[in-house]
Amino acid sequence: MSDEKKLAIIATKGSLDWAYPPFILASTAAALGYDTQIFFTFYGLALLKKKLNLQVTSLGNPAMPMPMPVPVFMQAMPGMQAMMTSMMKKKMKSKGVASLEELRDLSIEAEVKMVACQMTVDLFEFDTKDFIDGIEYGGAATFFEFAGESDVCLYI
């Protein structure tokens, strides 16, 4: 029995902004000595793609800080999502916020275990070749095997 603390995370979201919390917390926990595991399910599986192409949207998110007020129907116009994503990435870079690729690499390097939900892979007919190497595939029971003994368990 190890005396290491354990952190279990469920990552369910696949947008650029929501991809940060799982990787920030996992990489930091690992640096603090936690044995860490992330279970990726539904849209969270987008975080495991070799080529990350995550977007951010202001739609349905009235708290998104905007450089100027934009009416909601304008926010739904073609190209707006791509523009907001590029603005967000630029802002993050200028503020010294790590890229997701870097945080994910640091997590892997720190031996954070990543488990992809097999059911979601089947449901959306994902090709496992598109996912990064070194991940495992499993279901709810696999998650509980680790989460049941965790000290901190987060649903993101």
């Binding site: 920030i24 930091t28 640096a31 000595g33 010294g96 945080l103």
Partner: protein, 76 residues
Amino acid sequence: MPDFAQELDASGLNCPLPILRAKKMLKGLETGQVLRIVATDPGSVKDFDAFANQTGNKLLESTEEGGKYLFFIEKK
């Protein structure tokens, strides 16, 4: 100011990068050796304190100097 074996310039980096980079550098040090860290993220003051408390590495000094934060951490 304590002597140090290595230095990490984490200027301009934001949470959690200063901690992650420091952890990586500490890995390469021997017990008792000191890492000097320079950071500009105001959140790092509390974070390095918390990092030291949780990992057992000793935070020898934490100071501010002209808008920069200096930390000296001794490897456990």
